[in-house]
Symmetry: C3
Subunit: 356 residues, 3 copies
């Protein structure tokens, strides 16, 4: 992980090759480990198909050998981080300008999404990304979002946190008709309030949001004088449904690290699009909580573990004062680790020397 | 839903009639919908008994027909809101005065409770209501609560949040003997502290509270000068146990909307009597959090999604500045929607034009 | 419970004897109780082995007899509190001084741990305690923690909340190699920040922390002028995994009460080492929240129900103004009570008369 920013595409193939090798070398190690009831569902060991004669009776592993086998799985996960996968969500969305309007063309469709190396799932995505592309505008901007529905179900987009006119709120049969398969709909509005918001499906939403129809909608304030000056500004969307435990659509070791130089200031915009709380714990440094759902906290407060509930957004500031690679994970431990190593909602904050 | 406040009793019959008709017209639509694993337990489709010959093989529905069938279920739920049901909880409780004491006579017994149209469950209720009748007094009032137990189990009443003398705290074998079936007990006290509190069973409470033995106990402060002036003051009790996901004892579409004129101020007193957290999300406007468990927050803060844990009460203020009918729901999405439409912990804030 | 502080060791034997007697007198009472689906797994009734002839058909109990049987189980639990058990966790750890360094020798090993009378489980413990011994130092102290691993798995210690140098952070393969079975490792650092922190395993942690590898790490500030003056300062570690619902490693009725004289000030340091939230509710008095994760809250606020998520620490102050024995429990009710009586995450705050 020391070289985590210099990983080449070949690293992933190496990871998979080593993984398969280990599975063959230690075919029954996982089963032999004691106390392994937790976390199996999250990251099952790779199954190995091989037409081989019946194996000889498994040798009894010593405690040390069992510990070594478990440690090897842990090491492999850490060494693979950040693992390369196909597809990247939450990419900054450049609008096209049309008569002073920022226009965002979104198409929702079913795609294959690689959550971590070798685990590819069906996803419902905006423009092929999970999370959808990051919309970032300024308070007072005129915005048009053209949604084209290429899914087999009707859908609609709710701009979660924006105080729009009722007709733009995106709730079928309450504020608009559902957007049928093959059809389109345009949302247009002047952005009314700043902060860290979201856009997501509001139709059959437990399913459609769970499948990936979600993204960040960031609004910079018109008057930026009170905005904290930051060097790094990163969105972290938590999810826990059909695609497992993910940060920005990926599971460890395919999650993306946050990287800062020593002394820099990092802003993290947490957003929970899942169905469970996730108390995110940062090692080595604390977080100062400055906003909730896009509204400034009147009295910012500090913590190292921030509980984020579904639908909430929390903005925090981290001063990168402590050099090193720091674990950063959900503290509901089965969302972060099993006997097979770290998994799911784990990433790292990497604080680099100034001259690195 | 445009005419949501003019629903007549016949609407419900119409709802059920349409429901049955749809069930016959689209008997297999639900099963044919793709990706429908979520939420079925919360709101099963109505079963249809009919002595009919074996049906012909179901035709294969096109994607569009499947989408239309799902949308029809969603539309039906929204159009039925607010659906009429038998029984209404949380009704303001007028005490009888006896020598300067406000006397509340409560009887707990087993009743039938209609949670949503056509879904009637066994409930344990105070005075036949779920939640029990709303007690609303002033700090310093002398209050007597006479409990008569007509249930098959012993019980006791805890006044959750009130700082009473120990003997009035309602915990069997700690502060009093249990109140046996057929017996009565009187609680009497001078109300010591203001705020949004609750009363509920504290005996076999996971079961008894889950079955409905709970209600709001609101205490207005003696010195009301710091109280916000509000036009609407509404209690919203969340529950998630034996009766499903409910707001004030009812599931969508039988939940009650909040209604305000444009420009009015609404106070909502959230209370969680369930076993899960519920992050309540308001569309179109934000909430200002002013009190926790009846105690003023020293620095009120804003949000659009408020996470409410079991036993907590949160008071918020909403300025009704945005006209329209706004969804208002738990953001753990399976508590609010399935492929069959909105369900459970969904209601609306209706902001009406001033001259309506 | 009036005599709860004068319980002799014989009380426990008496508890068990009475328990067996009741089980024989009312062999089928539990099954006969109506509506008893909740909570059974948490505290199964003691099984009674007896070679006896087949019993006569169980008589039909009247509602009153069933209520009495349930009440008797509730009474027995309350009367047994605080029940004596083998072993006590969270004991203050006296360091040995070595050249100006406070040295703490920790050995982790598998032990038998009595969670409540008659329920003994396998635990992984630091120095035989669950939670491990309480480390309490001052900001700026030089500390060495020598860990000896006598477990069958590798391990490592993370000092959760302390902003240490990266090499001391305790995350295998990120900051250090795992500490293999039979091996040792020394952590050494100058304590960088004050507050209520924790130490626990960070290797296969969902399992190892769940089994008991956790403890409190309290750091008093160098400048104590802003510290609240308190008469009682108590740690309360919440857990909910392999050992059931526990407070400081014990389940009700074996939990330890908090005891204060009328007028005294109590500081409670809540820490959640489990996998679920626990909203802790205090009866009779409120709590003032002064710190989160060891950091002062800029605007302390009041509540009676405090929601504590995994990994979080919250410090509160309670003024013991209301005399009596007050229930103090998680308000997720199945974590605190079943038809068999109170269980799990229940304790009491006992406010004694000044001259007691």
């Amino acid at each position: 992980m020391a070289d985590l920013l210099s990983q080449s595409p070949s690293s992933r193939r190496g990871f998979l090759r080593k993984s398969a090798a280990l599975a063959i070398a230690l075919p029954s190690a996982a089963e032999l480990l004691s106390g392994c009831a937790e976390g199996k569902a999250s990251k099952p060991p790779a199954s190995v198909d091989h037409a081989m004669p019946a194996p000889a009776p498994a040798p009894v592993l010593s405690a040390r050998a069992k510990a070594d086998a478990m440690d090897a799985m842990h090491e492999m996960g850490v060494k693979a981080f950040p693992a390369k996968t196909q597809g990247r969500g939450n990419q900054l969305f450049q609008p096209r300008m049309q008569g002073g309007v920022k226009v965002y063309d979104l198409t929702c469709s079913e795609v294959e999404w690689e959550v971590e190396p070798g685990r590819t799932v069906k996803a419902w995505a905006y423009n092929g990304q999970v999370p959808g592309p990051q919309i970032r505008v300024r308070e007072g901007d005129r915005v048009r979002v053209n949604l084209k529905n290429e899914l087999p179900q009707s859908t609609a987009v709710h701009f979660h946190g924006l105080e729009l006119a009722n007709a733009m709120d995106g709730v079928p049969f309450v504020t608009q008709p559902p957007i049928k398969p093959g059809e389109s709909f345009s949302y247009e509005f002047v952005v009314p309030n700043s902060g860290s918001h979201m856009y997501h499906s509001h139709h059959n939403a437990a399913y459609q949001v769970g499948m990936g129809l979600l993204g960040a909608f960031i609004v910079e304030p018109k008057d930026a004088r009170n905005e904290p000056k930051v060097d790094v500004d990163q969105v972290m969307i938590l999810n826990d449904t059909m695609h497992g435990y993910t940060l920005n659509g990926k599971s460890f070791p395919a999650t993306e690290p946050l990287v800062a130089k020593l002394g820099q200031t990092v802003r993290i915009r947490f957003m929970n699009e899942g169905m469970m709380i996730h108390p995110m714990h940062l090692h080595g440094m604390h977080m100062t909580v400055i906003a909730k759902d896009g509204w400034d906290q009147p009295a910012p407060w500090k913590c190292d573990t921030l509980n984020i509930a579904p639908g909430e957004r929390w903005d925090v500031i981290v001063k990168a004062t402590n050099p090193g690679t720091w674990a950063f994970h959900c503290h509901i431990l089965p969302h972060a680790e099993s006997e097979h190593g770290m998994l799911g909602m784990v990433t790292a904050l990497v604080v680099q020397p100034v001259n690195a």
